[in-house]
């Protein structure tokens, strides 16, 4: 019915064209499935929940270069003025901005002598007791900070309580544990009063991506980070007002990098965005080129076999048989290419994983890509096959 045997015989006779197509399809499949695998892992990374109210938070830095200014007092005043702006719900100084790839980190342990206990590297963020709410975080276990937890100013009064991300608690005390336990760093000891399920650190892409320790201490430094929480709909407006408002309070300073937390995050993930865009461009171009290739080769095959087709038609083959012939031929070649390509794709995925620590290639991606390629190849052979079917039988009797 499908005339597979004669098709294969014909293919074996002029191998060059078929081999080229198989080669093209195989390489395309290998590239596309690996590229898609990388793209999907990067998209997962970009869209992963960070725990923060990314659309509401505005973050920036204030460099107070005049050392004579009483910064603590100045920032208190500033926060009051900021909160008066229409749409602002909260404003406070923080020691570093999450997701921004810059800030402070330390090693915390579950034992006073860190060499004897478990240790974990973690980002830390120091801010006043309203920080959890300001960041838009949700506490999954324990309680929020209270005003009396908070200390202000010098090292001597280090807070005695902390809220940590689930990852920190898990790593130090085991899965699901950690509440009301103590963590240590240097001479400091703090009790975990709350645990936040999802909270990314300043370096979401690193080994300590999920590790954050919140410390209720308010400081004011020369190089001070500030966050403002606004209603998402009014945020763009608030962003514009921050610099002039603060400079009106005190001119001897510079307000830097006023931007939404989502923008800060996008900048941290710039490399991944670039990779996604490059790979998508590659995939689209490849699809076009391969479709063109299939189209072109079928055209070529048909023009070469015009007489043969005419003869078949003259001998009684129907148009549909000719049409089917080319579709089946092409599908056979594509199937073969896809088989070779799947092996190549998986081999390549293994190599990439070994060399560049790329996540493993998922079989399903190879499968889906293969299916799409099959469909694509049938579509690109459709028009040439139709043309072949329309070759008149009289061609066969001419010019022999």
């Amino acid at each position: 019915m499908l005339e597979i045997k004669p098709i294969i015989n014909t293919l074996m006779r002029s191998k060059a064209g078929a081999l080229l197509l198989i080669l093209q399809i195989a390489i395309t499949l290998a590239i596309v499935s690996n590229a898609l695998s990388i793209v999907s892992s990067r998209i997962d990374k970009l869209t992963e929940d960070t725990g923060y109210d990314e659309q509401g938070i505005i973050a920036f830095t204030v460099l107070t270069y005049n050392r004579n200014i009483d910064r603590a007092k100045q920032f208190k005043e500033d926060m009051i003025t900021l909160k008066e702006i229409d749409g602002v719900k909260e404003a406070m100084t923080v020691s570093s901005i999450p997701l921004s790839s810059s800030g402070g980190s330390w090693t915390v342990s579950n034992h006073p002598d860190e060499l004897q206990g478990k240790r974990v590297d973690s980002g830390y963020i120091q801010a006043n007791h309203r920080i959890v709410n300001a960041f838009g975080l949700t506490i999954s276990e324990g309680r929020d900070f209270e005003p009396q937890d908070e200390t202000e100013g010098s090292q001597d009064q280090f807070p005695s309580v902390t809220i940590v991300s689930r990852a920190v608690a898990n790593k130090l005390f085991g899965e699901g544990k950690g509440l009301n336990e103590f963590i240590y760093s240097g001479d400091n000891m703090m009790k975990i009063v709350g645990i936040v399920e999802t909270m990314k650190s300043q370096w979401p892409d690193s080994k300590m991506g999920d590790n954050v320790v919140l410390i209720p201490i308010e400081r004011s430094s020369m190089y001070q980070r500030v966050i403002v929480k606004a209603e998402p709909s009014k945020r763009a407006q608030v962003i514009k007002l921050i610099e002039p408002t603060l400079l009106e309070n005190e001119r001897q300073r510079v307000i830097m990098g006023v931007k939404g937390l989502d923008t800060a995050k996008a900048q941290t993930y710039q490399r991944d965005t670039l990779m996604i865009r490059m790979l998508m461009a590659l995939i689209v171009f490849l699809a076009i080129i391969t479709a063109l290739g299939i189209f072109g080769l079928t055209h070529f095959n048909i023009s070469k076999r015009t007489k043969q087709i005419g003869t078949r038609r003259a001998l009684g083959a129907r148009k549909s048989a000719i049409f089917r012939y080319f579709i089946v031929e092409n599908t056979l070649v594509t199937l073969f290419g896809v088989a070779v390509g799947s092996v190549a794709a998986i081999y390549m995925g293994g190599q990439l994983m070994a060399l560049y620590s790329i996540p493993a290639l998922d079989w399903s991606i190879v499968l889906y890509t293969s299916l799409v390629m099959l469909v694509m190849s049938v579509l690109s052979v459709y028009q040439p096959a139709r043309r072949a079917a329309n070759i008149s039988p009289s061609i066969a009797t001419r010019s022999i």
């Binding site: 830097m256 490399r271 670039l274 990779m275 490059m278 171009f285 070529f300």
Partner: protein, 437 residues
């Protein structure tokens, strides 16, 4: 003969405009994609200071206790402590040595309408300028004396001078860094190595600083690093003095070594210094370790090339292979369709070799046209990269090497694809084609 072949090739291309266009587009896309990723790779892996890269060396000391680890392949920290950097700066058998770090300041003029802006500052020694080949438009570096006295003097880049004063001859003018008044004593010509090799801490493709002040200001004015400050030891640090004496690492150190002998001397000097420090209780290790790495080795050690980029280069060459397979198919079709022409030419006395070359010339011409399309596409791609990733501004571009490499890759790739079709055409016997005419 070549001219005749080119003429024939051009006629043939015009005869089959659609398939020729398709081929040019296929080559163009292939070359465009390949050259985009290859250009970035080329810039990332290029020597940022070719005339001196073998003389300039980054110095590292293994200050950490036995058993401590670092994120380098040999566990040696990439930066130095302040006390080590200061010692190596002040006592050295080499004339060209420099300790440095990145800082920053609010820069402004002493006038009410001058709006302060943030500018990165390189705090460094006076040898910096000669070591890293900066040239002065006006003035020069600070003197040894000015450095010792922590004189408030600064060297600025030409662009910064333009921004502040709208001219470059600004010697003797005053600028403010934060609340400190500085006198401009030198203006350097624009300086921007493709890779910020001398300090890769905050990303190797950051812009170079264009504001330089003496190293002694760190102590004199309590200046802080805007780069990385890392510690490996739990130390009680109270106050500036203790911070400067701590084991925290936050300074880069470079030397210029001109001979094998000087290198040996310097290695001995480092070992002597560490041995002497060991007696004071530092460098608690069985084996003293240090690194003196020349520029290119240093860049490799710091993994300056993004692995993503290597993947992209690999994928784009595979992509080019797909394009080639594609072109091969189309060429085969095109040439076989025109086999009768070749038959006539053969019958009229052309040799197989001549037919073969005539077809290759045609393929090469297609390659050249495709290359032009490809270069245009690559420019678009590079603009896209610069837009997506702002720090790649300095490296997402095509230099002359890459521009010249494009036609070479395009034409040789096309010739490779054309070999088989050209051979198929030239070996067909003239008789078969003549019969059907």
């Amino acid at each position: 003969m070549l001219v005749h072949y080119l003429d024939l090739a051009w006629r043939n291309i015009k005869l089959t405009p659609l398939i020729s266009c398709l081929m040019v587009v296929a080559i163009g896309i292939g070359i465009g994609v390949t050259m985009t990723s290859l250009s970035v790779y080329h810039m990332m892996s290029s020597d940022p200071i070719p005339q001196k890269s073998s003389q300039l060396h980054a110095v590292q000391l293994q200050t950490m206790d036995e058993g401590q680890t670092w994120n380098t392949s040999d566990d040696v920290p990439t930066q130095l402590t302040y006390q080590d950097a200061k010692f190596l700066m002040e006592n050295s058998p080499l004339t060209h040595r420099v300790a440095m770090m990145k800082s920053g300041a609010a820069v402004h003029l002493d006038s009410p309408d001058s709006v302060p802006f943030i500018e990165d500052v390189r705090i460094t020694g006076r040898s910096f300028f000669s070591m890293f080949d900066l040239s002065f438009l006006h003035g020069g570096a600070w003197s040894e004396m000015q450095s010792e006295q922590a004189a408030p003097v600064a060297v600025i880049g030409e662009a910064l001078a333009q921004r502040l004063f709208q001219r470059t001859d600004v010697l003797g003018e005053s600028i403010y860094l934060d609340e400190r008044k500085y006198e401009v004593i030198g203006v350097t010509a624009a300086w921007q190595p493709a890779i910020k090799f001398y300090d890769v801490n905050n990303g190797p493709f950051q812009r170079a600083e264009q504001l330089f002040i003496p190293f002694s200001h760190i102590e004199a004015y309590e200046l802080h690093s805007w780069g990385n400050t890392n510690s490996w030891k739990n130390e009680e640090i109270r106050g500036r003095e203790q911070f400067l004496q701590s084991e925290m690492v936050w300074l880069q150190f470079w030397v210029q070594i001109d001979s094998e002998n000087a290198l040996k001397n310097y290695q001995q000097f480092l070992l002597d210094y560490m041995a002497q420090q060991q007696k004071l209780g530092r460098f608690n290790r069985k084996q003293l370790a240090y690194n003196i790495k020349p520029v290119n080795e240093w860049l490799e050690y710091n993994h300056v090339i993004d692995p993503d980029n290597k993947i992209l280069v690999g994928l784009s060459f595979m992509f080019l292979a797909v394009c080639l397979a594609n072109i091969l198919g189309m060429l085969l079709a095109k040439f076989l369709k025109r086999a009768p022409d070749a038959g006539v030419r053969r019958a009229l006395g052309a040799s197989k070799k001549q037919i073969f070359f005539q077809h290759l010339v045609e393929v090469a011409l297609l390659g050249l046209l495709g290359c032009l399309v490809g270069i245009l596409l690559a420019q678009v791609g590079l603009v896209g990269i610069r837009e997506t990733m702002s720090v790649y501004v300095g490296i997402a571009k095509m230099d002359w090497t890459m521009l010249l490499l494009s036609p070479i890759i395009a034409i040789s790739a096309c010739l490779l694809a054309g070999l088989f079709p050209a051979w198929v055409v030239c070996k067909t016997s003239p008789a078969t084609h003549l019969k059907v005419q």
